[in-house]
Subunit: 363 residues, 2 copies
């Protein structure tokens, strides 16, 4: 399979949706990917199931505060260096690259990396959405080690970490990322083809593209949000899909804390100003409450889109007065197991509410 240049725009839009508010600005990711593709050519994209068991795959991603990622994006040499340092540590070159998440900038950074390094890109990731922390992957749930990993910055500082577990690696990397300016490139979770096929959320690059295409098609047809919802209901993972709210932003609180963008957004309904939707986030949206009642919970996806254009709005793009629709969809089944919920369910984010699948919550 090959992706086309036009696909990059659709992937960016789809990944902004799947980023559920986080993952960094996909517009930046698209520019990075476009630039690399023009210079180095489009990388080939391969299905996860086509990988030999003994293939070596590295993930590649940016990590940091979303607001900063958009202002201080990867320069290219930092991407090459992260892969090179991990190669050096392992004594083995990767046969392919893969995204760690399919949200925001990290959907397209792997396209940039694969183009630069002449490597194929695997159509899969470790979240099927975006999450704020490094241990929150299906790879980790499946016992794949997060380390060795290599992180780099635009001054070509590099830090190679071996840690006992992914949470410990996350803590170290987060600390270092703040010191390095809240925006770093990370090559982590080196794994075999066998482990990838066992643990990854598959086909998500294609899904991101198709979500972006659905929104574009909807714009031509006049109701992008409805066309998007109709498309999502045909997908393997995001098929439980609801429009939770139609309203405008009346309050938005964000702070950069411990290297994250943490806060919440309040909206009032357009047709009933007394009805209030509150959404809390840590880089990504975690929980949506309508008049105090929980309507959707992480790891299910909570996505804010412009009510007219269907354009996904990231956390750092939220503004007072914006008119948005709040969508929620189911997460991939592999992300709703007990083990997965322990890693990135509501309690992993300090929430008290137990996870209830979207389809089991009263509409």
């Amino acid at each position: 399979m090959r992706i086309q240049k036009d696909d990059l725009t659709h992937i960016a839009t789809g990944a902004a949706f799947l980023g559920t508010g986080g993952g960094g600005d996909p517009y930046i990711g698209r520019l990075l990917a476009m630039n690399a593709v023009e210079q180095f050519g489009m990388p080939s994209v391969i299905d996860a199931d086509a990988l030999p068991d003994n293939a070596q795959i590295f993930t590649i991603a940016m990590l940091g505060v979303p607001t900063v990622l958009g202002e201080k994006a990867a320069c290219g040499d930092d991407v090459d260096l992260a892969v090179k340092r991990l190669e050096q540590r392992l004594g083995r070159k990767p046969d392919a690259l893969m995204g760690i998440e399919i949200g925001g900038i990290n959907s397209l950074l792997p396209v940039m990396a694969a183009a630069r390094l002449g490597l194929p890109l695997v159509d899969a990731d470790g979240m099927g959405r975006a999450f704020p922390e490094l241990q929150m992957t299906t790879f980790n749930v499946g016992g794949v080690s997060c380390t060795p990993l290599a992180m780099t910055d635009d001054h070509l500082t590099s830090v190679v970490v071996d840690a006992g577990n992914a949470k410990s690696a996350e803590d170290l990397v987060r600390l270092a990322s703040v010191h390095l300016g809240c925006s770093v490139v990370l090559s982590s979770y080196p794994m075999s083809g066998r482990d990838l096929k066992r643990t990854a959320v598959k086909g998500t690059l294609t899904l991101a593209r198709d979500i972006g295409q659905a929104i574009a098609r909807g714009r031509q047809q006049g109701d992008p949000v409805q066309v998007l919802v109709d498309y999502l209901r045909t997908t393997p993972y995001y098929n439980q899909c609801r429009i939770l709210f139609d309203g405008k932003v009346r309050d938005i609180r964000r702070e950069m804390k411990l290297g994250f963008s943490i806060g919440h957004c309040e909206m009032t309904a357009l047709d009933n100003p007394g009805s209030v939707m509150e959404i809390s986030f840590q880089n990504e949206h975690l929980i949506a409450r309508l008049d105090g009642r929980v309507k959707a919970l992480v790891p299910d996806l909570i996505c804010l889109v412009d009510r007219e254009t269907g354009e996904p709005v990231p956390v750092d793009g939220l503004k007072y007065g914006q008119r948005l629709k709040v969508l929620a969809t189911s997460a991939a089944p592999i992300m709703r197991t007990r083990e997965a919920l322990a890693m990135f369910g509501p309690q992993a984010f300090g929430l008290e509410e137990p996870f209830v699948p979207l389809e089991d919550i009263e509409d």
Copy 2:
């Protein structure tokens, strides 16, 4: 040259003196070294000037908060791993090891490391004393890069850093060390024999031993502090030597801040309770003021010793009521150049007072 088992005790005492209050408890260093020497044999010690120009030398040290270093010392595997990770990064094994400083635990940790790894130990270091930060070495003053470096902890976490300069490496390593429990093993400043001969403070392991021997000899002769002072006056670096004060501790304030032990100690004179000596420290003693007048300044050495036994007292061993003598000695000439003072003179520690050599201060 070979050091003997008895020498380890003398080196520990001498290094506690040269540690000027910091560098971690040399008693722990002695136990670590003794243990390794019993198991692996005594390493050979070589003169810096005997090294071939193209030899590869790594430094080895512990880094962290002195109080913690004494409670959570290197386990051995962490030492081996730090050297191994640096080897891997460079693609070259070291021909010899060297201490980064000759203060406290870091005088004898290299003996442990050299014994374990079957490598010779160079009779030299990068400070001729102890300093709290990684960039504060004569290696760095001489343009030797601090990185690549490898740090490890007792859980065998490893972090390999390449940074643009030693201060940036220090900041990263310090952050990570706090996360890893304020006690890590560090192999850094990989350098050639040529660079070592050009930049190191030479002969300091032997000097530490001889200082320890002088104190021991003084105890037999009845006046260890005087015998120590007499010996120091014969050394190449520490020959300007004064007893600044003879008193007892009346106040001691210490806090752990940013991974350092920071504070000050006040003493009153035994023969004149109105006369007050105040010493400020950041792991190591930085400045000694007698009734408000500066009597000695970093990088010259300020050392507190028991007034009866001559035993050096580290910062974390200071207690109310202790009767101590305060000694000051000159630092090695290589440490008093303008470039060196910029790196570890008073201003590098936030002090306002300009450096004045001990011998130029009114007695």
